[in-house]
């Protein structure tokens, strides 16, 4: 059923996309092909194929096994990563990276706490030095920008 839901998500996307595509002009004033031309073809095809796919997914039982004992871990790591990206602009890249590394390693690798702490500091600091200092690509500073100017 989850499989059909995923096809269903593509169908929903396809419907919204196609609806908007029909709001775009098919031709421009000079009689040339307009911006709506390609999206209308794509959208219509995607609606047809994903609708067909949803029907097939519901009707025929899955022939491959997608069950897992680790759905909890997948969900948890996803949520931590979302929090990480959200924290980037608040805490700044360095602090966010350290926190993310520590929390994720705590979830996945509880045996080696000392190694976890060392890695959670070493990797972010070296990445920060590499990207921010050496390559000069500004990583988000977050609230600490107030202090460093």
């Amino acid at each position: 059923m989850a499989r059909a839901a995923f096809s269903g998500a593509f169908l929903a996307f396809a419907l919204a996309y196609t609806l908007l595509a029909f709001g775009l002009p098919m031709m421009i004033e000079s009689g040339q092909i307009g911006p709506g031309f390609f999206p209308r073809i794509l959208g219509t095809m995607l609606v047809v194929v994903s609708l067909y796919s949803v029907i097939r997914d519901i009707r025929e039982p899955a022939d491959d096994d997608t069950s897992s004992d680790h759905w909890g871990t997948v969900g948890l790591v996803t949520v931590i990563t979302i929090a990480f990206v959200a924290m980037l602009s608040i805490l700044g890249a360095l602090v966010a990276m350290v926190l993310f590394m520590f929390v994720t390693l705590y979830v996945l690798n509880r045996q080696g706490m000392i190694a976890n702490v060392v890695l959670s500091i070493l990797l972010p600091v070296s990445l920060y030095l590499m990207f921010d200092v050496w390559l000069n690509t500004t990583l988000p500073r977050g609230v600490f920008a107030l202090f460093s100017g």
Partner: protein, 503 residues
């Protein structure tokens, strides 16, 4: 021969100290990317793209291409030592590579793979050197209708060969095309699907999408498979001593598979949409067919390892032919490379080799040198890379997630792109889980603007669809498309009939 002169010129570009340095970095990083399960060449190249922004285009592409073919070498090590392919193109190497390691023959197996990869890479390069200019001349006669059809052939091949359910492949490709339509329309200048966001006016960048689909998506899949709870079974390889070197009969047994794998791999690599994974699997079954002792396959037969290994390296070289001469990538990794070309304003196509010889021939020259570096690294530094392969997934996963996030952010300093990357990561996980084709999505995203533009031009030129069947070259390509669609349909009808007869 002017090809020869061009090649000499290419070497002179590649041998500059700066390019040599970046080439060395590229092959090293490629090896590391290759041995890290869960981090494939396409994600590796996409994450490292921002690091090249301060370089000149030739150095940057030399380094990125080295990551691409370096990963092919590196992926072998994990296949043989821990039975986990570091790259999808080294799946076939686990069939006989891991049994060989179990028999204590990991050393000779890896040395022969390195030599096979080197031989195949070099044969592939010689063919590339000779054929690319010829291909470029053929491609010069291509009009927009042919280009459009070649894009379609590439995607269709990918969908047909991927072997999964074709409807998922088609959805994946169409999804990539729809993402490509976001932003300003090239023909009219109108905005499409931007929802007033200034960041979307320039369209959806392929880098966050590729990093999300192949980086985060792959990592989540690793967790789903429970790899973070496993200790890696592992075979030691010593760096010296007689047990590292293949015996005389090993060499003589491997010569044929190397030669066959090289040629087969190159031909498959040149076909848009096929590529290294397909090439290595085809080579495995070819070796099994020609072998006088097919019963040894799967139990540690050297030809079953050396053939596919040679084949995937030749294919990665072969796939540079359509990439350089047509601007059509055959795989996800080459799609990311194409995106990198475009970032530097280099439009691969028939004119690239004549208009940017420094770049095109410099790249080809650097690949010869890169192959030499890789064979040396692989023979003498196997234990070093084997140690990287030992890092367990539970530690690897957080490291690579951080690399994905920081790598994406540093491209444009955009938090929106970082969110797009993360969203694509979740989508990529489900695509992988249910058998969709993330590679088709990325290729369609990169080629979307080209497909739309050439379709539009074709229709304007002919005022209808007639251009697709009145030009003989277009008609030929159209027939190929017809066959690509008809073959799997016919096959499935035939299968359904025969199962019905069985009942």
């Amino acid at each position: 021969m002017d090809v020869f002169a061009d090649l000499i010129y290419g070497f002179s570009v590649a041998l500059s100290p700066v390019n040599l340095l970046y080439l060395a970095i590229g092959v090293l990083v490629g090896m590391v990317v290759g041995v890290m399960p869960g981090l494939g060449a396409s994600a590796g190249i996409a994450i490292l793209l921002p690091l090249t922004f301060s370089m000149d285009p030739t150095s940057a592409i030399v380094m990125l291409a080295a990551i691409y073919y370096g990963a092919m070498f590196g992926g072998t090590i994990t296949s043989v030592l821990i039975n986990t392919p570091g790259e999808s193109s080294t799946i076939a190497s686990t069939f006989d590579g891991y049994p060989l390691a179990q028999q204590g023959r990991a050393g000779p197996a890896l040395v022969l793979c390195a030599v096979g990869s080197f031989v195949a890479g070099t044969i592939g390069l010689i063919l590339l050197t000779v054929l690319a200019p010829a291909f470029a001349r053929l491609a010069q006669s291509f009009g927009p209708s042919e280009t459009f059809l070649v894009v379609m052939i590439g995607l269709l091949t990918l969908v047909v060969i991927a072997g999964g359910k074709w409807r998922y492949g088609v959805i994946s490709a169409l999804f990539g095309f729809t993402l490509a339509t976001v932003g300003v329309d090239l023909g009219s200048g109108d905005q499409r699907y931007t929802f007033g966001s200034p960041e979307l006016i320039t369209g959806i960048n392929f880098i966050p999408v590729a990093i999300g689909l192949f980086g985060i998506g792959e990592l989540l899949y690793t967790l789903h498979q429970g790899e973070h709870t496993e200790e890696r079974g592992f075979f030691r390889v010593s760096g010296r001593g007689p047990e590292l070197w293949p015996k005389r009969e090993d060499w003589s047994e491997s010569g044929g598979p190397m030669a066959r794998g090289s040629l087969l791999g190159f031909v498959v690599g040149v076909i848009p949409g096929a590529g290294a994974t397909v090439a290595s699997l085809m080579s495995y079954s070819l070796e099994k067919t020609v072998s006088q002792t097919p019963e040894r396959f799967g139990k540690g037969a050297l030809p079953g390892l050396v053939g596919p290994e040679s084949s995937n390296n030749a294919a990665s070289t072969g796939s540079m032919v359509p990439l350089l001469t047509l601007g059509i990538p055959g795989s996800a990794s080459t799609a990311v490379l194409l995106g990198a070309f475009l970032l530097w304003g280099l439009q691969p196509g028939p004119l690239l080799m004549t208009q940017n010889p420094e770049f095109a021939w410099g790249l080809i020259g650097s690949m010869y040198l890169g192959n030499v570096m890789l064979v040396v690294l692989n023979v003498f530094a196997i234990p070093l890379f084997a140690n990287i392969a030992r890092i367990p997934a539970r530690i690897m996963v957080p490291i690579v997630i951080v690399l994905c996030v920081v790598g994406t952010f540093s491209v444009n300093g955009s938090i929106i792109e970082t969110w797009i990357m993360l969203g694509c990561g979740v989508i990529g996980f489900f695509m992988k889980l249910y058998g969709y084709s993330p590679a088709a999505t990325v290729i369609a995203l990169v080629l979307g603007p080209l497909a739309e533009e050439t379709l539009r031009q074709s229709l304007i030129i002919s005022g209808g669809l007639s251009i697709f069947y009145t030009r003989s070259m277009s008609l030929l390509l159209l027939i190929i498309i017809g066959l690509l669609i008809a073959a799997p349909l016919a096959l499935s009808i035939y299968r359904r009939r025969s199962t019905r007869d069985d009942r």
